[in-house]
């Protein structure tokens, strides 16, 4: 979700809550003889509100699992998740008086910092990465269909090469004859497809089969351009269209590889954020029960 002017209301409300909390906390911290404590009425209030914000933020995941329940738009839940989740950190810090306490509370604080930090990191990624992906991968496809699209590209390329190499031989097709100036003399035309066949077998096909493998020259757009220019010089002009098609296939393959990478960048942080959030909520609940009971 982009952090832009549409977030203004949530930003102002969150800021107001933070200011109010700070205004309440500072005199309280100063006036407490033993320093602020989570067990005090005000500290407990900070803890309850902070934990409530964490629970609300955590409810985004179940909310997403029931997309058609009319319990508020997913967009509103996401905004709440972002801003209230972020607010939970200062509130919990106020709750603990900026002290980490025992092992459980220390673990909780560390978890909270990591969860909020990863969330902020994720928000930044979600702010910038969609634009990067849109600009850099205009040929992107649905992520789940990447493998299928890759297979299609490989099949297309095989077909292009097969059709082109079918023109090989001393008696070439009319198209190949037309490409030669020897037509009127009646001399048979020799079209040699070895450069194309060899380039395809040696460079292009392995690249299409394993595009992420290191050291593939075609993975680099500049090197790829040079290689295709070289192939073009070895083939009759009529086959340049085929070479162009193959070049376009390589370009799409590169974009799909990039899309895959960007997709992982955009979503893999969730592998950290979600489990730790769950752990935080569980441990937070345990901490609340233990603190209130004992």
């Amino acid at each position: 979700m982009r952090i832009d002017r549409t977030q203004r209301t949530w930003f102002i409300v969150s800021l107001a809550i933070l200011i109010v909390a700070t205004v309440v906390y500072v005199p309280y911290a100063r006036s407490s003889p033993h320093g602020p404590s989570g067990a005090s009425a005000l500290g407990l209030t900070f803890g309850i509100v902070g934990f409530a914000f964490m629970i609300f933020a955590g409810l985004l995941a179940p909310r997403k699992r029931v997309p058609i329940w009319r319990v508020g738009s997913a967009q509103a839940w996401m905004r709440g998740h972002l801003w209230l989740g972020l607010l939970s950190l200062p509130l919990i810090l106020f709750h603990g008086g900026f002290r980490f306490g025992g092992p459980l509370t220390t673990a909780l604080m560390v978890l909270l910092i990591i969860v909020v930090g990863s969330g902020v990191f994720g928000a930044i990624l979600h702010h910038y990465m969609p634009t990067v992906m849109t600009v850099e991968t205009p040929l992107e496809t649905i992520f789940e269909q990447l493998d299928r699209r890759r297979s299609q590209l490989l099949a297309e390329a095989d077909n292009f090469v097969e059709v082109a190499t079918a023109m090989e031989g001393p008696v070439a097709s009319a198209a190949a004859r037309a490409a030669s100036a020897t037509e009127d003399t009646g001399v048979a035309v020799e079209v040699d497809m070895t450069p194309l066949r060899s380039f395809y077998a040696r460079e292009m096909r392995p690249f299409l089969q394993h595009p992420s493998e290191r050291g593939r020259s075609l993975a680099d757009p500049a090197k790829a351009r040079t290689m295709f220019d070289g192939v073009r010089t070895l083939l009759p002009a009529e086959l340049h269209e085929t070479v162009k098609d193959l070049e376009e296939i390589c370009e799409e393959e590169r974009q799909l590889t990039k899309q895959s990478r960007l997709h992982h960048v955009m979503h893999d942080w969730l592998l950290l954020h979600i489990p730790l959030s769950l752990a935080l909520l569980l441990l937070g609940a345990a901490h609340a029960v233990m603190a209130l009971r004992y």
């Binding site: 997309p67 058609i68 319990v71 996401m78 969609p130 992906m133 992520f143």
Partner: protein, 723 residues
């Protein structure tokens, strides 16, 4: 000494005697001396246009033997060096422009020109080919025309006029542009050609050939009995059909016998043949439930699950729900909405649209008694339909049985009285149009009103920037009323999309009808106003926004779009999951589609202004409201053609288990999965579409494209420039 009254001449050193007025060509032929020719046939008047039959008669120039009369004492040389040189040069010139091997040479190896060239040892003409081709005409289902292979011998023209007396073929153009033409240069399929095949038989090259299409012959089996040409010619319906043609298309028509209860074809199935009932009766019905897909639930409680269910129009009235009482099918009868069953008997033809345009079957046909019928393929049906005798029978049957329900099936004509229909019965003209035929042109004087009987008609308007498709009309729709009511010219061009049959009511009869029935006039004027308003709105849109920008991506066709802002979308697919969750696990949305700047136009129904999905529906169950939103009627048979036709993949088939009549065990029912087409319904019972509601990133939006893109282009000149 020659016998009295006979002519004696010498050909290649041989003295021969022939009757007066015999041509040199015939004289040689009668005496076993072959002279090659291309333009001459024994059963046609000689014209001497190809000059291949030139001979030396001792004159200043060589003479065309087919038109040169033999004279007493004439000395003729048919194979001197001078003659051979001239003949070979002619053949070489013809070959230089001939697409060798032509279709005939490829199929049967007997192209007369190529055979001559081979004998003359001409393998590669020295002369250059013409730079631009003369094209092909594929409009006839039975005869292929390749103008490049035409040598302008006129044999086809003489065959058409002298032998068959059809006078369809003629010459057109001059010099290098000269060629054969059908009627006044119409496509062959749209001309008055009766497909007798004489031109094809006469043609010496591959310019006119019998269309050999894969699958034009039925596989013979126990239920398909071959029919001989003689048997066919003995049938009254084939009276007047060319025997030559029938023999060329042998195997494309078979006899089929069905026992009582046998299913002849099922609704929704794809086919390529039509049936003509010789004896017995068949029952035509639609077994798909008369209902549409309705998304329900969700509105009452926030946790209520959405489900898709079938609902009849009586139970679920949608906006502008139709009150159409008859379902138009691919047969000479219409089915009643309440009880979609009818009977056909001897002399009835069904499956015409399936056969001619390869549309799915519109109804299930079951033998009501033991019956016999002819199953025919497209080429044979086309011959029959062009046959005046057969057409007359079909038209008579239509006027007698279907005109009433057809006219009354149009809500605007519901008020017509029996008396008036009876007066129209013999006055209406039933016309056929080949694909691509322009029925009426924008700006022409309005002189007729048309009712679509079979096929689809495209209505379009010209305006700066391109052509705009206004509508597709199918059976039961009509056009031409605006020009007639206004007493003015046509406001749009109407073109046949496929094989179209129309009921034409003359301007005078139309005026009489609207004068006599003020209610019909009022309703037609309402429709006219709506259509004109829609047209004006589109024109205004086209003037506000650069048309090319929208046409380039088809976005202008849309009435409502789901746009994904790619700079906000994290590709999480929450929208797709929400759509699936809202529709029993079947998503009507795929996060893929066209891009317009930073917007992805996701694959979700666009309520197109050019709804290609409507083309070909065998029962006309897809239409749109005045808001242009597509609506699928209760009598959808689930054939899936609309889903295939939609260029954006926006129509889905939703399976439902329903109880249907068991055709094998009459009177009993059995469960069966039936499909119903459905598009995005915008989750109409919800405040906001599920996809938009479920997007956590504020990336999914439903927009009116005309406003959205117009605003975008105005506020962001850079985008307009980039487009």
């Amino acid at each position: 000494m020659s016998p009295a009254g006979m002519i004696e001449l010498t050909i290649d050193g041989r003295k021969v005697t022939v009757p007066p007025e015999t041509t040199v060509f015939d004289a040689a032929r009668m005496n076993g001396i072959p002279i090659p020719t291309l333009c001459h046939q024994q059963n046609e008047t000689p014209v001497g246009v190809c000059r291949v039959c030139v001979v030396d008669v001792g004159g200043r120039v060589l003479a065309a033997s087919c038109v040169r009369p033999a004279e007493n004492g004439m000395v003729v040389s048919t194979n001197s060096d001078k003659v051979l040189q001239a003949r070979n040069t002619l053949v070489e010139l013809l070959m230089s422009d001939h697409p060798s091997p032509c279709a005939r040479q490829q199929n049967t190896g007997d192209c007369e020109l190529e055979t001559l060239a081979k004998h003359a040892g001409i393998t590669k003409p020295r002369y250059p080919k013409r730079t631009t081709g003369r094209g092909k005409d594929e409009s006839s289902p039975s005869i292929a025309v390749e103008f490049d292979a035409c040598i302008l011998c006129d044999r086809c023209i003489r065959g058409c006029s002298e032998i068959r007396h059809n006078y369809v073929l003629g010459r057109m153009g001059k010099g290098g542009l000269a060629g054969i033409a059908f009627d006044n240069n119409l496509p062959m399929g749209g001309s008055s050609c009766v497909s007798c095949g004489e031109c094809m038989v006469s043609c010496p090259t591959g310019a006119l050939t019998n269309k050999v299409v894969t699958g034009t012959h039925f596989a013979e089996g126990s239920d398909a009995q071959p029919v001989t040409v003689e048997e066919l010619e003995a049938l009254p319906v084939f009276k007047g059909v060319s025997g030559t043609f029938l023999s060329l298309n042998k195997g494309a028509v078979v006899h089929r016998r069905y026992k009582k209860g046998d299913v002849i074809c099922r609704e929704g199935e794809y086919g390529s043949s039509a049936f003509y009932i010789l004896d017995g009766k068949v029952r035509v019905s639609i077994s798909s439930p008369m209902a549409h897909v309705k998304t329900q639930g969700g509105a009452r409680g926030f946790l209520t699950k959405l489900t898709s269910a079938l609902a009849r129009r009586q139970d679920d009235q949608r906006d502008e729900e139709t009150d159409q009482r008859f379902i138009h099918i691919d047969a000479p009868v219409d089915l009643a909405y309440e009880n979609p069953v009818a009977e056909l008997g001897p002399g009835d033809l069904f499956g015409e649209m399936t056969c001619m345009s390869l549309y799915p079957r519109s109804a299930t046909v079951r033998a009501e008694t033991d019956c016999t019928m002819l199953e025919m393929m497209r080429n044979v049906l086309d011959i029959l339909q062009r046959n005046k005798n057969f057409r007359g029978l079909l038209d008579q049957s239509y006027r007698k049985r279907a005109l009433d329900t057809h006219l009354r099936g149009v809500p605007e004509f519901a008020a017509l009285t029996d008396d008036f229909i009876n007066t129209l019965r013999d006055k209406v003209e039933l016309i056929r149009c080949a694909p691509g035929t322009v029925i009426c042109r924008q700006g022409d004087v309005a002189d007729s009103f048309y009712l679509v009987r079979i096929g689809f008609v495209k209505v379009s308007q010209r305006h700066p920037g391109g052509e705009m498709v206004m509508a597709y009309l199918s059976r039961g729709d009509y056009f031409g009323e605006i020009g007639l009511l206004q007493g003015d010219v046509r406001t749009a061009t109407c073109t046949a999309l496929d094989h179209v049959e129309l009921v034409r009511i003359s301007g005078e009869d139309f005026t009489r009808m609207v004068d006599q029935f003020p209610e019909i006039r009022r309703r037609l004027e309402e429709v006219e106003n709506k259509r004109l308003q829609e047209n004006r709105a589109r024109l205004a849109l086209a003037q506000d926004v650069p048309l090319e920008s929208f046409l380039a991506q088809g976005l202008m066709e849309a009435q409502s779009l789901l746009l994904l802002d790619l700079e906000r979308c994290t590709r999480c697919d929450a929208c797709v999951r929400a759509c699936a969750a809202a529709h029993d696990g079947i998503t009507r949305l795929v996060r893929d589609g066209l891009r317009f700047d930073r917007y992805l136009v996701a694959t979700s129904c666009r309520q197109c202004r050019d709804p290609l999905c409507m083309v070909g529906c065998p029962v006309g169950s897809i239409r749109r409201r005045n808001s242009l939103e597509v609506i699928i009627e209760d009598w959808c048979v689930g054939c899936g053609l609309c889903a295939n036709n939609c260029p954006y993949g926006n129509i889905n088939l939703h399976p439902f288990e329903v109880m249907v009549d068991d055709l094998e065990r009459p009177g009993r029912k059995k469960p069966m999965v039936k499909q119903k087409a459905c598009g995005c319904d915008l989750c109409t019972n919800q405040k906001e579409p599920s996809c938009v509601y479920a997007c956590p990133h504020d990336a999914a939006h439903r927009v009116d494209p005309s406003k959205f893109f117009a605003g975008l282009l105005k506020t962001t000149p850079a985008i307009a420039q980039r487009r």
